[in-house]
């Protein structure tokens, strides 16, 4: 690792490496789509009612219940599949709300400037002064434990990053000639912000949002694990794992929901990481250089 001189062999290895990037995104997209499909259709084909308690308790995986049953005789597989329909839509909803809220706050701050900017950005700093899980926990506990309140808490801690990014882009575009020209033509500030500036914010925000879906799922299931999100008997992955702490010998109760969270989050992270590469000019230059065999 002492030299960065690009020998033909190294260039070939780099090309192979660069070709890996898109497949990572494709793997992510396939896994994510599969889970979304499960989320939409699970109620139609799961073998048992996810909240019904009719089966023998604490049965290991077997022909009757392929992933076993939990401590009150519910089918783990049915709960696992139904859990996708709880977590994934809520995660998408909360990221969507954070994106809209954060982008608007950032755009208004950047466009208005002066005291509006100062006030909004200090509020942003304030929210960012807390580690996310702790602040979300504090908010969820104050509002009362429920899945809905957990989503609200998660939105409150997630929007500031979008505000920062959108503000910085708006600031850099505000003085551009085409924006000034549209104002001189008589467009209102709101219209100029909407048509001239916001389309440029979309790309970076989209990348950030795709990476944030995984974080949102981890946060929601973490809050449910703490008892501040989904309440029994809802089939939610985090609370399923929390239920597994009572019966360590019945490993199947907790292992499978964890794997479900891991695969969904990983899928969205793969997609986000690939998107970031595609949108980031620096990273793209590097991968083009690697493809053509030149040093970046």
């Amino acid at each position: 690792m002492t030299s960065s001189i690009l020998t033909p062999a190294r260039a070939r290895r780099r090309r192979i490496g660069a070709q890996w990037r898109a497949p990572l995104g494709i793997v992510g997209a396939v896994v994510a789509l599969a889970w979304i499909l499960v989320a939409c259709t699970a109620p139609l084909w799961v073998p048992y009612d996810p909240v019904a308690q009719g089966l023998p308790r604490l049965q290991p995986p077997g022909p009757e219940a392929i992933l076993g049953t939990d401590s009150v005789g519910r089918d783990v597989f049915s709960r696992l599949m139904a859990g996708a329909g709880v977590t994934i839509p809520l995660a998408l909803l909360l990221v969507g709300c954070s994106v809209v809220l954060g982008t608007l706050v950032g755009a208004i701050a950047g466009y208005a400037g002066r005291w509006v900017d100062e006030t909004l950005m200090r509020i942003t700093d304030l929210v960012m002064a807390f580690p996310t899980v702790i602040l979300a926990m504090v908010i969820a506990a104050s509002l009362g434990p429920s899945l809905f309140n957990a989503v609200i808490a998660a939105i409150v801690v997630s929007w500031p990053q979008y505000a920062r990014v959108s503000r910085s882009i708006v600031l850099s575009l505000r003085g551009q000639n085409y924006v000034i020209a549209s104002r001189l033509l008589g467009y209102s500030p709101a219209r100029s912000l909407w048509t001239d500036i916001l389309p440029n914010v979309a790309g970076p925000i989209l990348v950030l949002a795709s990476l944030d879906i995984g974080t949102a799922i981890l946060l929601l299931s973490g809050l449910s694990f703490l008892g501040l999100g989904a309440q029994p008997p809802t089939a939610e992955w985090g609370s399923m794992i929390s239920g597994a702490m009572e019966n360590f010998d019945a490993w199947w109760i907790g292992v499978f929901p964890g794997l479900a969270i891991l695969t969904v989050v990983m899928a969205f992270n793969f997609i986000g990481d690939t998107l970031r590469d595609a949108f980031d000019p620096l990273a793209r230059a590097q991968s083009i250089a690697a493809n053509t065999g030149e040093t970046a």
Binding site: S142, L228, V255, G258
Partner: protein, 350 residues
């Protein structure tokens, strides 16, 4: 905003920078108290019942006394000032879970969490400096791609689940490491100097205690570190890549300096500033992680405390943790900024 606070004196730009940062931190600190206060007041339901419990709260005299004592009949701004006054005297209320003053609970819990978090950040930084540098040097090659996938997986694992799996496999099944508490029940805690057991045992010259405390740290630290290793490795890689492209690194290589000399004296030194910033961010992720990890390993820190508080909807306890963690996080970021100013003259002279 930092430029508008014109405390900069030409004689000592560093002192001016520190003053401005300190000012910002104090403002944020007040903001943190405002947030916890507002959240306490947001609680749907009756704060008197929440604080006293169902039984005592049904007695009108007790109720009235509580309302008088806590100024609940006064307007919100007055209540906020009273809340600040109580904070300054170290009164965070009484925990509904333990029945003790929250301040006393936190004083016991904070050193335990600090020990865990510091050990995890040191381990994560060491591992990710090696992995990140390796990935940067092998940019685009198979090593880089494998590390990329591994770090993405590290960022995707739900920490609380990993903690349970590690607890089950390495403690319950294999029994290779202790899985609960800070020390074995048979061992007496060290005399308190720093509150960090490993350090206190060392200061006391107690090697048995030190090794026991170290063994108890192993599992929670490893579990906590996985996420931060993923986070930091990616940033180290990016920072090292930027430095590798600079002329001074090319020059150092061109004059024939050996690989490790260049890495340690030029590359990592040049990349240290952005890495330092991310360490501050990673610390926040670690503090979040402790909430989910400590309860699994019965580690008597802020995480276990807030887990129990959250489970019992013990608001004074949760608010206390929120406040303390907010303050710890602010202090860490202030320290990071100070290092930044010391390491990079451009920051304080600009």
């Amino acid at each position: 905003m930092q430029k508008t606070a014109a405390t900069r004196s030409p004689a000592s730009p560093l002192a001016g920078f520190l003053l401005r940062r300190l000012g910002t931190s104090v403002l944020l600190l007040i903001g943190v108290t405002l947030v916890t206060f507002l959240l306490t007041n947001l609680v749907p339901g009756d704060p008197v019942t929440a604080a006293l419990g169902e039984g005592p709260a049904s007695d009108p005299a007790t109720r009235e006394a509580f309302i008088q004592a806590h100024g609940l009949d006064k307007p919100a701004p007055v209540q906020y000032v009273m809340y600040l006054g109580a904070l300054l005297t170290g009164d965070l209320g009484r925990s509904l879970t333990t029945g003790q003053p929250v301040v006393a609970d936190l004083a016991k819990a904070i050193p335990a969490t600090i020990e865990l978090a510091v050990a995890a950040i040191v381990l994560s930084l060491a591992v990710s400096l090696v992995l990140g540098t390796l990935a940067a040097y092998r940019r685009g090659m198979v090593t880089d791609q494998v590390l990329r996938v591994l770090t993405l997986i590290g960022l995707s694992v739900p920490t609380f689940w990993l903690a349970l799996v590690a607890f089950y496999v390495f403690f319950l099944q294999l029994g290779v490491v202790p899985g609960s508490g800070r020390i074995s029940p048979s061992i007496t805690p060290p005399p308190t100097v720093t509150g960090l057991y490993t350090v206190d045992y060392l200061l006391n010259g107690d090697s048995v205690g030190f090794l026991d405390a170290l063994a108890h740290l192993t599992l929670p630290v490893l579990v906590l570190s996985l996420f931060t290793i993923g986070l930091l490795t990616r940033f180290v890689r990016t920072s090292v890549l930027e430095v590798l492209d600079t002329d001074y690194v090319r020059a150092a290589r061109a004059k024939g300096l050996g690989g490790w000399r260049v890495v340690s004296a030029y590359v990592l030194r040049g990349a240290s500033l952005p890495i330092l910033t991310v360490v501050g961010v990673a610390f926040g992720a670690l503090l979040s992680g402790t909430v989910l990890v400590e309860s699994v390993f019965s580690w008597p820190g802020l995480g276990s405390y807030s887990y129990n508080a959250a489970r019992n909807l013990d608001l004074p306890g949760i608010m206390g943790v929120g406040l303390v963690v907010g303050v710890i996080y602010l202090v860490i970021n202030l320290v990071v900024d100070l290092f930044y100013a010391i390491l990079d003259p451009r920051v304080r002279l600009s």
